[in-house]
């Protein structure tokens, strides 16, 4: 008997992710923090104290914001500590929870001790711990969404980590540009522009990989978020590259930050759309 064209009464097969806005907000915040910590450590080790301080402040604010976002998204927030009940390498969320548990205190301590001008050796060590876990903070959430049955996420598992890393670089460095005096912000500016270019390039690569699955990114609300992200990122990067030492750096950097945030929300929206399209399961490899 021929299969019905619309499957079982046209119903979706998969369950839609239950995650609300806090989750893409965390992708954005956590990635931003990780990248900022990496920049801070590079600045610190190369004697760029002013830049290091700025980047550390950015990382700390993000590190303070990230865990509450995750806790509030839980169905049982009071049980957040159960995330550290086991260590489970098969679960990207377990890897991430443990990483965050190490990263956040380090980033906050580093910035705190820096502000208080106390214990410089401890401060630097904490900063290095934050920087060492920074790459994980910037990429593990991509592994997390890829390790699901959602076609548009799973199919892009080789591209999403690069997209998230680039987006984190753009947001973390651009945030640092907002905070740092322009005379010290050179590396942050360059990293922000590089991250922006990377974000655009990896998006293009991901779309190529997805083929027909791009329909999930081309459907509202993901399409709206994607277009907004692209416009913000292109504009922000262009202005920052051309006039990054002037006051124009402020709106430019803000655009890059907004572009990165929209990108994360676009990815989540695309996943929610993808879950509702049983036809996509046939095109999964």
């Amino acid at each position: 008997m021929p299969a019905s064209v619309d499957g079982y009464h046209g119903r979706p097969i998969l369950k839609r992710p239950v995650w609300t806005w806090e989750v893409p907000a965390y992708f954005f915040t956590g990635g931003l923090a990780g990248a900022a910590s990496m920049l801070a450590a590079a600045a610190d080790l190369s004697g760029r104290a002013v830049l290091a301080t700025s980047a550390r402040r950015v990382a700390a604010v993000a590190a303070l914001t990230a865990p509450p976002l995750l806790v509030s998204d839980l169905g049982r927030p009071a049980r957040f500590a159960n995330m550290l009940r086991v260590a489970k390498p098969s679960s990207p969320m377990s890897v991430g929870s443990w990483t965050l548990a190490g990263y956040a205190p380090a980033a906050i301590a580093c910035a705190g001790l820096g502000e208080l001008h106390r214990a410089p050796r401890v401060c630097r060590t904490a900063g290095l711990v934050a920087a060492a876990t920074g790459p994980v903070m910037a990429t593990y959430t991509a592994v997390l969404v890829s390790t699901t049955a959602i076609p548009v996420w799973q199919a892009a598992r080789r591209e999403l980590p690069y997209l998230f890393a680039a987006s984190a670089a753009a947001a973390g460095a651009a945030s640092t540009v907002l905070v740092a005096p322009p005379g010290a912000a050179g590396p942050a500016r360059r990293l922000a522009v590089a991250g922006a270019v990377g974000e655009l390039a990896t998006t293009w690569l991901m779309r190529r990989r997805l083929g027909t699955l791009t329909e999930s990114y081309d459907t509202p609300p993901s399409s709206t978020l994607e277009h907004t992200s692209t416009i913000c990122t292109v504009l922000g990067a262009a202005v920052l590259a051309i006039a990054g030492r002037s006051r124009a750096r402020v709106p430019a950097a803000a655009l890059l930050v907004a572009g990165s945030a929209c990108k994360r929300f676009a990815v989540l929206a695309a996943g929610r759309d993808s879950a509702g399209r049983p036809g996509q399961l046939r095109n999964l490899a």
């Binding site: 600045a43 159960n82 009940r85 086991v86 098969s90």
Partner: protein, 278 residues
């Protein structure tokens, strides 16, 4: 670190005195009469909340799909066929199937659960520990069959337990106990697989060539299901994915990409130091 959670390696996790043969369901949909006794029995035994949905208009199926509040779901398909087809009446053939959690050998829900709430029982089944689940929701999009879901007000994830409490008391799960036609068969998994193979051979011999097993192959994307089915048409007709894969089996490529991306990020950070400071 948690121990291996594949169903066929569960012996490693339990002391000898607690080990049991792996059990599961063989649901022979060719003899399902669509009575929904399984749905009712499951709800009664497990105190699953009522889920009064709108009239769906999807044949006799007003449950819709498996979910946090539906652990057995009877699907109804009315197919237009040639009147000469076996079992067809007035050009319509009924396909009915009681869907359930597959209790996969490699269960993506279990593998991604960060709290260890989802675990492998001594019977080889997959169960959510409700006193541990914190409702992170990761299991929900991880399941390739769309089984598990988060209960809205409760906040935790819920699904079929294969009546773990009844198994511990040497009883049959509620749905299998209630099924009047023995469409739902419960027992040791290897014995069920043998029985199913024989049943498919019988159906083929009597002309029902579209009869096929679903989830019985230990080489499939979830390494075989603890609850498998005999279908009379393609899986998609029943709302089942044609090629389900536990996503965690493909995580290696994602992690390698994360490694590369992290390294690229580090390189970009260092490279950004080149040039003017201001």
């Amino acid at each position: 670190m948690t121990l291996r959670t594949r169903a066929d390696q569960v012996a490693l996790a339990y002391p000898a005195a607690q080990q049991r043969p792996r059990v599961g369901f063989f649901t022979d949909t060719s003899i399902c009469i669509g009575c929904k006794a399984c749905e009712v029995a499951c709800k009664e035994w497990n105190d699953v909340p009522e889920q009064l949905t709108r009239f769906t208009g999807h044949s006799y199926d007003n449950t819709g799909a498996l979910g946090a509040d539906a652990w057995r779901h009877v699907a109804f398909i009315e197919q237009r066929v040639a009147p000469t087809v076996e079992g067809a009446r007035d050009g319509t053939r009924w396909l009915m199937s009681s869907d359930v959690c597959k209790h996969c050998t490699t269960a993506a829900c279990l593998d991604v659960c960060p709290t260890g709430s989802l675990f492998r029982t001594e019977f080889g089944t997959v169960v959510v520990q409700q006193d541990i689940c914190n409702g992170c929701g990761y299991c929900v999009p991880a399941c390739p069959f769309g089984v598990i879901d988060r209960r809205e007000e409760d906040g935790r994830a819920w699904k079929c337990t294969l009546c773990y409490d009844r198994l511990k008391a040497d009883q049959t799960p509620a749905c299998a106990q209630a099924c009047p036609t023995q469409s739902i068969q419960f027992g040791a998994l290897d014995e069920l697989r043998e029985r199913a193979a024989a049943r498919v051979a019988d159906l083929h011999a009597s002309g029902e060539t579209s009869a096929q097993l679903y989830g019985a192959d230990p080489g499939d994307g979830v390494d075989g299901a603890g609850a498998f089915f005999l279908l009379l048409d393609e899986p998609e007709v029943y709302g089942l994915p044609s090629d389900p894969v536990a996503a965690t089996k493909r995580a290696g490529a994602a992690w390698r990409a994360a490694l590369g991306a992290g390294a690229a990020l580090a390189a970009a950070v260092i490279a950004s130091l080149i040039g003017r400071d201001g």
